[in-house]
Symmetry: C2
Subunit: 430 residues, 2 copies
């Protein structure tokens, strides 16, 4: 763990650096997989599933029977927990609905926006060591609230050729009926292009490894929207003397266990906190099943002491963390000056894991500094807004000359004429 005490501002750009994640070397493979999926459809999915996942799959669609059967295979307490989380996520994302407000910009000129669901969306749930049923909730619940008509979930087949029951249970609970056992680049290609079995969608959501990330970038170039660019997960903890070193350490470790490439940064208000936080890290690390992964992540992580509060806030804004814990006195006041962050956790009793699972906020968030320009996934991510204008005869009389003058100055005479004709017609009528 790299410790820096009151680093100079000119060192900050080094301290906010994330490891470079170029996937240029993967791009030719991605391009090829897309081309073959376009050409051969399901046959190509079978081929790549055999090649990359080492499993022969005939029918990618998970049957209604399989989905229903999953309910019996999930323990009751976990089902109850998933239900509570789903309820909170639903409550928070439902509160994000906006009413259309009609504005009369000029007498007789009424403008407004109307939200519409994106009709077909795709959700990618990675395979790997942990079955990410929580991500099913985070993506499918707002999609349902938005009113997306078709929700297509792809996830790699498990080693035994079937999908983890908790994933199927979560999907069924929130009303997702289209689940396909296909993962990796071939899944993103199928969602982007469509095959005999997997429908084409307009926007793809969800996390994934560098292959999935490269595939989503390629999909975007084909005109398919994606949720956001991806990078390794991150947490920054701001802590002053009101923080509890045990909690700080626990939160840092909960980020560190995600992967060896996880970014973990603590920004402490005083040198006095360094020793207790490090001690707590050591104590807790010993008991963790994923201690090896966490240790690797900690080796690359940073522990900074920045005594000046203004400077702490300025550093955080430059770093733009995915997750930000503010374990400081007057955390809400600090929040008001945070400009760049994905999701913020206030005070000592708001661990990051609450947001990962059950507080109700979304855990699909911008990493790698993208919080400077991207929101995390929210209800808006599943809708688009149509603008509407309704102009009365009085309105076009009021605004007509303005439009004519501007169109003429941009040398667009047909634009002008569309107004002139209407004004003439109204003149002749009077």
């Amino acid at each position: 763990m790299n410790i820096e005490i009151n680093p100079e501002r000119n060192e900050w750009s080094k301290l906010i650096e994330r490891p470079a994640v170029s996937n240029e070397h993967i791009q030719p493979l991605v391009k090829e997989v897309f081309a073959i999926v376009r050409k051969n459809g399901d046959k190509a999915l079978q081929k790549y599933t055999q090649l990359f996942d080492h499993i022969a799959i005939d029918d990618f669609k998970v049957s209604a029977t399989q989905i229903a059967a999953a309910e019996q295979m999930v323990a009751e307490p976990l089902k109850k927990a998933i239900q509570i989380a789903a309820q909170n996520i639903r409550a928070f994302h439902s509160s994000q609905e906006n009413k259309a407000e009609k504005i009369e910009t000029t007498k007789g000129v009424i403008c407004w926006q109307e939200a519409r669901p994106i009709e077909r969306i795709g959700i990618y749930i990675p395979g790997g060591t942990a079955p990410l049923f929580s991500t099913v909730l985070m993506l499918a619940i707002p999609a349902k609230i938005a009113g997306c008509k078709e929700i297509v979930l792809c996830t790699p087949p498990g080693k035994n050729g079937s999908v983890n029951p908790a994933i199927l249970y979560a999907a069924n609970l929130v009303g997702v009926s289209q689940v396909y056992q296909v993962g990796g680049v071939q899944a993103i290609a199928a969602l982007s292009i469509g095959t005999e079995t997997v429908p084409k969608v307009y926007k793809i959501f969800g996390p994934g490894n560098q292959f999935v990330t490269a595939a989503k970038q390629f999909a975007q170039q084909l005109g398919v929207a994606i949720d956001m660019p991806a990078g390794p997960s991150e947490l920054l903890v701001m802590a002053d003397k009101t923080a509890d070193p045990d909690f700080v350490a626990a939160d840092l470790l909960s980020q560190a266990e995600h992967g060896a490439d996880s970014q973990v940064v603590s920004v402490l208000a005083s040198e006095d906190l360094v020793e207790p936080v490090q001690q707590a890290l050591m104590n807790q690390l010993a008991d963790l099943p994923r201690a090896e992964i966490a240790k690797k992540a900690l080796e690359n992580s940073r522990l900074l002491v920045i005594e000046d509060k203004e400077e702490r806030i300025a550093f955080v804004n430059q770093y733009a963390p995915e997750h930000l814990i503010i374990a400081e006195n007057n955390a809400e006041e600090v929040l008001q000056r945070i400009k760049n962050a994905g999701s913020v956790f206030l005070g000592n009793y708001t661990p990051e894991s609450a947001g990962d699972y059950a507080s109700g906020t979304n855990h699909t968030l911008p990493t790698n500094g993208f919080a400077k320009s991207y929101s995390g996934v929210n209800l808006d991510a599943f809708t688009k807004k149509i603008t509407v204008q309704n102009i009365t005869p009085e309105g076009i009389i009021n605004l007509g000359e303005t439009i004519e003058l501007m169109a003429q100055a941009e040398s667009l005479y047909a634009h002008k004429n569309a107004v002139t004709l209407r004004l003439k017609k109204l003149e002749n009528e009077n």
Copy 2:
């Protein structure tokens, strides 16, 4: 103009096709320009401006004196028109501000979203035949309302080595002080990377030719956000017997004059409308300065008759037009069933040119069917939302077990421990 009467549904996919706009052949050039701009900064901008624009520019920054001088060079009536348009655009985009609503998802668990401006944004205004001062208003006004701190405008140098006065006047009117005379791929590279003169930004907005489009796509791969993917401009007019054929023709021509690749589609409710619309097109075309361009666009355009109202609406939703005029009886009722469109114009007195300039809605809109997944530019495009959660001791007691169970089921024990530690501490305190 291709005329189709009640085409079968299985022909629709052909009828909604846009001309393919692959820019793969440009990508190596884009990559090279970015690399050289990264290496040589301003020197590279000078080199490419000489090479592509055939002008030697020493200082790309347009001085405050030049910006102020522009005011004298714009005619008073046009200035007045620009001011009225600016006022309407400001009124409409200001109405899009959302208040943060705090939600208690579980007793003691409070969640909300807070909007923050994207701190640095870039605006690209193309050169070419028409000086697009209207686009300056459409992009800079919502940026100002959102509170973007740095707004950087790039536009190619004019033939005489200076920027069109109407562009400078519009920029100054809305408070943009950073204007740079640099265009094309090199401008997008400068905004993405930063040079000695041009600051790096986090998101780039604005239209452009296929070079600019390819450069924005490349910027996106580097992690710079962009407004949306681009394609040639489009208009679809729905018209029934309540429509005025002269107005329909005028609107179609106002789209057609944009460029030979403009997409113009009319969907008529009756064959009786075909002859009058075609006649009006011929009559009006004769008087247009850009008749040659418009004629070419019309050659590729489509005139469909779809008698059934449900079918007309279904066709429009499949096409997903950038601009949609509903010149039908009960236009608002039709609107309620429109799922995919960029901006909608209701009734006979709402020409597309009103939205292009002055009604108040934005004219930066999704083309090429992207209205299925993208909104046009609005206030949201200049902000991002941070989610926040604040959990009290009571809250973590209420929600703790749910989080522990889910974390454990995903094999993330440090996530679980961050909760367990807090619950223990609270137990010990009581």
